[in-house]
């Protein structure tokens, strides 16, 4: 490093700026008006930190560093640009896993150095071990979550003694990590074993978790990666990593709790119980029959309505029907109909995912209302149009104590004067629970693929007059 200026001071000062940019960026991201600029601020912070790290005193291997950055960035850029909006949750899982892997790699390098005799202070070694374990669990766990959501693993692997195995893996990793940190046995083999056990733990923890719970798990791993980054920040004495990692760790923990609450589940419940297993074991038989309706009738009904509330679900996104649905809503708005979108917290694959999908189709966010805002309005709505949603509008959640979804907050679509359900077939929802809403007297079923049904509705609304 050329003398004349203190490189270390410049690095530290820049990290300080980066930490401030991250916090202000995240703050801006928490409001729809400023969200767009928030990511730009945080991105600027990242660029500053990355560039200034090349000035870090006493570094070598610059070719390797640059090569790794270029390769990693290009791959991530390419994959991030081409992923479809519906597949966003698994991409977040994938990138998050990478961060966990990077934290584990830092821990591994430090611990191998430690085993070569470059002994660290005890607290530093312990933090390196814990951060390494958390990072490795987040890495392999996130990869499994990605593979599951992406349909690469369809099976949900469960066997007796699974919890026991997880506990054994965790205790094993901690004990061996403790021996390494205390220098009781810091051989490279033991260092390797820590990571092997932690990677296995991540896999074995995530495999039994069903697809419906995956968003909570991804959010949890996101928080864990943040924590791992903070711990490795302590090891490297890097304030930017400590601050950014901790902020993500606590924000991610809170976000995980909010998600779990929206699904009426506790985090422990997601991790340690096997939801979704009961499948078809439906509670009490639902009486009545489903009554179907034609698209033309629905078109007339909506065209002369005062207020229409659309309840979209993941099924709509899978059918890629959001553009058509919005086109239909625009026709209604032109006719003076008051149209709103009601979003359940877990509509889509994770909280807010449906908002992103609707935003992609061009729906302005001020027409989108969440559960608390909209629930009182269903009583005054002429039509509630349910498209691709199922469990989140099932009134059983309010009434039937024996139902697995009992207590889950739902959208009160059943209170609307008319309920129209667009649905492909007569099957039960994601959770395998029969939906009592479909059998109500004021409910009519419009069978068909979401996109096709929406196109028919557009034609039907246009045909009115």
């Amino acid at each position: 490093m050329p003398t004349g200026f203190d490189a270390s001071f410049i690095v530290q000062a820049s990290y300080f700026v980066t930490a401030a940019l991250f916090i202000m960026g995240l703050k801006r991201m928490s409001s729809p008006v400023t969200a767009r600029s928030g990511i730009l601020w945080a991105g600027a912070g990242m660029v500053v930190a990355t560039l200034v790290t090349f000035l870090y005193p006493g570094m070598a291997n610059y070719e390797l560093i640059i090569a790794a950055i270029v390769i990693g960035s290009l791959l991530a850029w390419w994959s991030g640009k081409r992923v479809a909006m519906t597949d966003m949750p698994q991409m977040i899982a994938l990138y998050n896993g990478m961060g966990g892997g990077a934290a584990a790699a830092i821990a591994a390098v430090e611990l191998y150095k430690h085993s070569q005799g470059e002994a660290h202070a005890l607290t530093i070694s312990i933090l390196a071990v814990i951060g390494g374990i958390i990072g490795a669990v987040s890495f392999s766990g996130s990869l499994i979550a990605w593979a599951k959501l992406d349909g690469k693993i369809n099976k949900t692997l469960r066997f007796g003694g699974q919890k026991l195995l997880n506990m054994a893996l965790l205790v094993g990793a901690l004990v061996i990590g403790g021996m390494v940190a205390l220098h009781l046995n810091a051989s490279p083999l033991f260092v390797t074993l820590i990571f092997v056990l932690a990677l296995l733990l991540g896999i074995s923890m995530t495999l039994p978790i069903g697809g419906a719970d995956m968003p909570v798990v991804i959010s949890l791993y996101n928080a864990l990666t943040g924590l791992a980054v903070a711990f490795e920040g302590f090891v490297l004495n890097n304030a930017a990593m400590i601050i950014a990692g901790t902020v993500v760790g606590s924000a991610g923990t809170l976000l995980t709790q909010l998600m779990a609450k929206a699904m009426n589940r506790s985090i422990a419940n997601v991790l340690f119980s096997n939801f979704g297993e009961s499948g078809g074991a439906a509670s009490g038989p639902v009486t009545g029959s489903m009554k179907s309706i034609e698209a033309t009738d629905v078109g007339v009904m909506m065209a002369f309505a005062e207020k229409v509330i659309v309840v979209p679900g993941y099924g709509m996104a899978v059918a890629q029907a959001q553009h058509k649905v919005w086109e239909m809503c625009q026709l209604l708005i032109e006719r003076g109909v008051n149209v709103k979108f009601a979003i359940h917290p877990v509509a889509g694959r994770m909280p807010g995912h449906m908002n992103v999908l609707l935003a992609e189709a061009g729906v302005p966010y001020d027409l989108i209302a969440d559960l608390d805002e909209i629930n009182a309005e269903f009583e005054t709505a002429d039509v509630a149009l349910i498209i691709g949603a199922n469990d989140v509008v099932n009134p059983v959640a309010r009434t039937d104590k024996s139902s697995p979804i009992y207590g889950m907050p739902i959208l009160n679509a059943d209170k609307a004067k008319n309920v129209i359900v667009i649905k492909r077939g007569q099957g039960a929802g994601f959770s395998g629970i029969e939906n009592a809403l479909f059998f109500l007297d004021n409910t009519r079923m419009l069978y068909g693929d979401g996109q096709k049904a929406a196109a028919e509705l557009i034609a039907a609304v246009k045909a009115v007059d």
Binding site: A35, T50, I69, G72, N96, G352
Partner: protein
């Protein structure tokens, strides 16, 4: 940085993270999770230092993987967050007041 100062940083940063998320509308949960996913991409910096100080071949290989993964986290996290937030638009001036809750 002494241990106790590091502990202070840890505590204050934890409260900061909690405060940022506590008042967020549900519609921004996914972008915000993605945004926080990007922020822990700062791990790239640590991986660069680790690789920069790597001596043995094993350390270099692991360090290289670390930088590669860290860069993937940062860049991928940025791209998808930016793509999601780009789509948030209000329908008119009235929305601007309403959206700031």
């Amino acid at each position: 940085m002494t241990g106790i100062v590091a502990l202070y940083i840890f505590m204050l940063a934890a409260f900061t993270g909690y405060e940022i998320i506590a008042k967020v509308p549900v519609i921004l949960h996914t972008p915000l999770m993605s945004g926080s996913n990007f922020v822990h991409g700062i791990v790239l910096v640590g991986a660069m230092v680790a690789l920069g100080n790597a001596d043995t071949t094993l350390e270099k290989v692991i360090g290289f993987a670390g930088v590669l993964l860290g860069a993937g986290n940062a860049v991928g996290g940025y791209v998808v967050t930016e793509r999601m937030l780009e789509m948030f638009k209000a329908s008119g001036a009235k929305a601007k007041q309403k959206g700031s809750h």
